[in-house]
Subunit: 146 residues, 2 copies
């Protein structure tokens, strides 16, 4: 038994989402894992940075690439609380991540609605890990906004 | 007659593409224009930065957003030498750019192949501005690589 399973890493992504929520950012968090080690953590910072590209996944991919000194993340897994948007799916494709694990689906802005073939064909996709917790984080945030 | 037409700004994007080529980067350049003023210039830096997200468009959008202090670029136009990829089309959608002008089509990696509805519905798209010059820049680069 290893403690480093999908739930473990998704909890870390959820912790990042909480940091975003605390800053009044849409609460999406991500971690990138290489051989059971978290090499990048990030949360949505579009408001803080005034930058529409500052999604959790983009920031995490940039950070992981810097850490590894490579623009390819072929041995890495990305855990993210929400289904990536088109922009982030495109970034995941360029980075050639081995594995994408996401929590909650995003029927409105998620990539599957617009471009189901967006990812690199070798990238494995798992969805629904801690789906309820990930979805609750989003609905709680938007309920408080109203 | 204004000197600030599509050809003028595409030439500026081509100058950025030349900077990329000089650094052995895939030669794509972009400028963002707000009321006839260039507020951001960028070229592809994926090799230099070891970052798969460092496309000309992403860097230009981040830069323009910082300049304007806004994550929305609703009054701006993006000129880019090559049809944006899916990642960049997603970023253009989030930024709500008013106008996208690109030079050469990209049948292999361009967003139109994967997600023709990627952009914000209000974004106007013009293609084929200085198409031959933009395409030649790409083919020259890849010919020299071989």
């Amino acid at each position: 038994m290893t403690p480093f399973d999908d739930t473990y890493f998704m909890k870390q992504a959820l912790a990042e989402a909480s940091l975003a929520a605390g800053n009044n950012e849409v609460p999406v968090g991500a971690v990138i894992v290489c051989r059971n080690r978290i090499i990048a953590r990030a949360h949505n910072q579009t408001e803080l940075l005034k930058d529409p590209t500052a999604h959790a996944e983009i920031l995490a991919i940039t950070s992981a690439s810097h850490t590894l000194g490579s623009k390819f993340l072929t041995d890495c897994a990305l855990y993210v609380t929400l289904e990536p948007c088109l922009m982030c799916a495109g970034a995941i494709a360029w980075s050639r991540l081995n594995l994408l694990v996401y929590g909650a689906p995003d029927g409105k802005r998620g990539f599957l609605r617009y471009a189901p073939l967006a990812l690199h064909p070798k990238t494995i996709v798992k969805s629904g890990v801690m789906e309820k917790e990930c979805m609750d984080r989003m609905t709680d945030f938007f309920r408080k906004l109203r």
